[in-house]
């Protein structure tokens, strides 16, 4: 069996992965760094991010305000030490990207321009029109090309982490083009595979977002954190689920019900003003806006379409000039995919699964409790996003924690010995498993697409915007049944060459594990907080649940949920207030407690 060996290995080549690769190469140019990605890096889903990346840069803003917005936006489930590090390093990282050539939008005098964003009290979101993720990703990818120590494994699909004696030694991967299955050993592995939106039927997430890294870590014995917190973005196009960026509302867009009424005023989000008001109305946080949609729908004040109820996003009053300069991609997406022009027409939108707040549990350097295993970006849960992420924090998170994980892994790797023969034996076993279970399988009746569709339906029904015990328990049962049926999958495609059906089957296996972790965490958390709303437990319960869920995989494949207290430094849990009553600045929060307190 072939094998190759590196010091630091990245799984995934999106924003976090490429930033980590560059960080590792800069820490120690002697290290050999591998970027293993199932797609060419510039196809990674970072490319789809539209609105921007948050980082304090203007004189009227402060790090404390960014931290407070993030923590209150996260319904006090964020680890505050991580948030403080994040807001401090985000501007540096965004500036570094400018130095690498990112085409940030500018003020007339040439300085970086920033825009408003949901849940943020100040303008601090850096943007490159409304293709911010695209420009960040291509800038990072093109910059990595000048680093010789970075070797790319483009279109290699990782099936398993090699673990020996509590230490991660690399991965087993399939080279899609040839079908070759081999070990790639490494002293440190950083998971940067992004989120898992494809677990749900209606999502902004690309086809490649299957929770691969979450499942790889979970199966290797690491825990997943806060998996019940799934973000619904309030404005997706019906049918396709294509995202209409929050920047559309930050530039002044209105959300209207079927009567043309700005319904958010009925949901404790402030009073409508002609121009956008920070932390108010359409610039409220995503969880509250998506929940308001459901309420409005229940009142019969939405519009029915073949692809579910919708409300309208109205950009017409912004005019063609603003739309073309600030939101060109929104216009392009509406014209190309919805056959309407937002300059003249209303955009139908509905909440759509967008982002996973939870993920592989890591510390502030991206390290997991499993030696040699790191994670950064959406796949990880540090946690800075708590129970609800604020828009534009995730691109910055990819950079800050990608860089931190890259540095930490490089320092760790420099002190480790290379993997031994045991890794090779494990890789050989994994090859035999893939052949027996899929490529050489006799019999089997289930199709990948059937099980995938049933999983998506089951999780939406049980762990959607609102949840309760009975439906969650039904969802858990259905997922158990689907896990059983998954063993009976049969592939049409037994070829080695670019076998995307095999890839789809393996991704489905990852998604089933991730789906189970979401439902189990949601079942156990008997309170409502941020994006996790239990109709049977409608109140937040700080006494019992000011804590992260940690879900572990038991040897029999079932799961076990534990809790880890949230780290509170300076902002005691308070009420989330949006609209006119929103606090002017965090200094006015009366409950501030001394630094260093945890609990």
């Amino acid at each position: 069996m072939d094998a190759s060996s590196h010091d630091v290995l990245l799984v995934g080549g999106g924003g976090a992965g490429l930033r980590a690769a560059i960080a590792a190469a800069e820490v120690n140019p002697k290290l050999s760094i591998a970027v293993v990605s199932k797609v060419y890096p510039m196809r990674s889903h970072t490319v789809s991010a539209e609105g921007g990346a948050a980082g304090v840069v203007k004189g009227d803003d402060s790090l404390d305000e960014h931290a407070y917005d993030t923590i209150s936006g996260g319904d006090w489930l964020c680890d505050q030490d991580a948030v403080e590090a994040f807001v401090k390093e985000a501007p540096q990282e965004l500036l570094q990207l400018e130095r690498w050539g990112c085409p940030w939008s500018r003020e007339p005098d040439g300085h970086i321009a920033v825009r408003a964003f949901g849940g943020m009290k100040r303008r601090r979101t850096w943007f490159a029109a409304d293709k911010t993720g695209f420009h960040m990703l291509h800038t990072l990818f093109q910059t990595t090309l000048k680093f010789d120590p970075i070797t790319r494994y483009d279109e290699w699909f990782v099936t398993k982490l090699l673990v020996d004696d509590g230490r991660v030694d690399g991965v087993v991967a399939i080279e899609l083009m040839s079908g070759k299955i081999q070990a790639i050993t490494a002293k440190a592995v950083i998971l940067c595979t992004g989120g898992c939106g494809r677990v749900f039927p209606f999502t902004t997430n690309a086809n490649i977002k299957n929770g691969d890294g979450m499942a790889l870590a979970y199966r290797a014995g690491a825990s997943l954190k806060d998996m019940e917190f799934v973000q619904y973005h309030p404005t997706g196009l019906p049918f396709t689920g294509i995202l209409i960026t929050e920047a559309a509302r930050a530039e002044g867009g209105y959300l209207l019900n079927k009567d043309g009424y700005r319904y958010l005023q009925d949901y404790n989000l402030g009073k409508p003003q002609p121009n956008p008001v920070m932390r108010s109305m359409e610039l409220g946080p995503r969880d509250r806006l998506s929940q308001a949609f459901v309420m409005e729908d229940q009142k019969g004040r939405t519009l029915a379409t073949p692809y579910g109820s919708v409300v309208h996003l109205d950009l017409r009053h912004l005019g063609e000039k603003i739309i073309n300069s600030k939101l060109p991609f929104v216009r392009e997406l509406c014209l190309k995919y919805q056959n309407l022009d937002p300059v003249k027409e209303l955009i139908p939108v509905r909440p759509v699964v967008h982002y996973m707040m939870g993920g592989v549990s890591t510390d502030m350097n991206g390290a997991t409790p499993l030696a040699g295993l790191y994670a950064a970006g959406e796949v990880a849960c540090v946690s800075i996003n708590g129970a609800n992420r604020l828009g534009s924090n995730s691109l910055s998170e990819c950079l800050v924690f990608g860089a931190r994980a890259g540095k930490a892994a490089a320092l760790y790797a420099a002190e480790q010995k290379a993997a031994d023969d045991k890794a090779m034996a494990q890789a050989n076993d994994e090859r035999k498993r893939l052949e027996a279970q899929f490529l050489h399988k006799q019999g089997g009746r289930e199709r990948v697409a059937t099980i995938r569709e049933q999983m998506q339906k089951a999780i939406e029904k049980s762990a959607g915007i609102y949840r309760e015990e009975t439906s969650l328990a039904e969802g858990a049962n259905k997922l158990f049944e689907l896990q059983e049926r998954y063993q009976d999958i049969v592939l049409d495609d037994r070829s080695r060459t670019f076998n995307t059906e095999l890839e789809g089957a393996l991704e489905l296996g990852f998604m089933l594990d991730v789906a189970e972790s979401i439902v189990q965490c949601a079942l156990h958390r008997t309170e409502s907080r941020g994006a996790h709303q239990r109709t049977d437990f409608p109140a937040r319960d700080d006494e019992n649940f000011l804590a992260h869920s940690l879900v572990f995989r038991k040897p029999d494949g079932s799961s076990r949920v534990e809790y880890l207290p949230v780290k509170v430094t300076r902002w005691a849990p308070g009420e989330r207030v949006y609209g006119e009553q929103a606090p002017e600045s965090p200094q006015q929060i009366p409950q501030a407690v001394p630094a260093g307190r945890a609990g």
């Binding site: 889903h45 050539g101 085409p103 060459t497």
Partner: protein
């Protein structure tokens, strides 16, 4: 009741086939469906071995380029209904001029080599510390290179370019546009380095200015324009090399230009 359309798709697997052969699949036509939805329908419901790339389904990741009815297109951005007059067949083929790995999947490694060859990163002679803040760049300066920065590497322009078809070593439209994206960036000082790659028979001089690259670009990048700008610049530099006083370095010229 939905209309139907027959997709004709060349099937090829190196383990099984000497050359591609066409297979036909009947698929329903829904008004919202793009060509990619039809391929996903076939893969999910009919034949799981149909092989193609896709990811974002919103025209930004660049994965799903194919020849649709003979034209290079993003299959996620091409409505099926545009081709679905009754009884019609629609050919969906891999992007032209690329080696085929399997079915609709083309081999991209040569394209990646070409991208890297033009040094697509910001080249600076000196790098001030981050504490000095951002390089200033006015919206007008951003506008100078912005359209060239919009390339999604979908390679439709290579499939449209007759020169690529005749001469596989031609560096090609997207790579030249990317070089121009950095050359025109007010923060960059690497145009000279890149000229060495591009002022080569396999660089800009290979282009016969057919303009097909610009026509098929789904992101309205103008590679043909980039190539023309480049040819002009290369020719002027060649003339300048005779009139520049001895002992004067390129950097002096650049500094003067910056002071203009």
């Amino acid at each position: 009741m939905a209309d139907k359309i027959v997709l004709e798709i060349p099937r090829y697997s190196p383990e099984r086939d000497v050359k591609p052969h066409f297979e036909e699949f009947e698929v329903p036509v829904h008004k919202e469906w793009v060509v990619l939805d039809a391929l996903n329908y076939i893969k999910d419901q009919v034949d799981g071995s149909l092989t193609y790339r896709w990811s974002c389904r919103m025209g930004i990741c660049g994965s799903c380029g194919m020849m649709v009815d003979g034209e290079p297109k993003l299959s996620c951005a091409t409505f099926l209904s545009s081709y679905s007059r009754n009884g019609n067949k629609l050919r969906v083929e891999p992007l032209r001029y690329f080696p085929i790995i399997r079915d609709l999947v083309t081999e991209l490694s040569d394209f990646l080599v070409k991208l890297k060859a033009v040094k697509p990163w910001l080249i600076r002679q000196e790098e001030p510390p981050l504490s000095e803040g951002e390089f200033l760049q006015t919206p007008e300066q951003l506008e100078q290179y912005k359209q060239y920065s919009m390339c999604i590497n979908c390679t439709l322009c290579y499939a449209a370019c007759p020169v690529v078809g005749l001469d596989p070593v031609f560096v090609g439209p997207a790579a030249i546009a990317l070089a121009q994206r950095y050359n025109q960036d007010s923060r960059d000082q690497g145009a000279g380095d890149r000229m060495a790659v591009l002022a080569h028979p396999e660089g800009i001089w290979g282009c016969t200015f057919v303009g097909e690259c610009t026509r098929v670009c789904p992101k309205h990048v103008d590679p043909a324009g980039a190539i023309q700008q480049y040819k002009l610049k290369a020719a002027l530099d060649w003339v300048k090399s005779f009139v520049t006083p001895l002992g004067r370095k390129n950097t002096d010229v650049r500094r003067e230009a910056a002071n203009d």
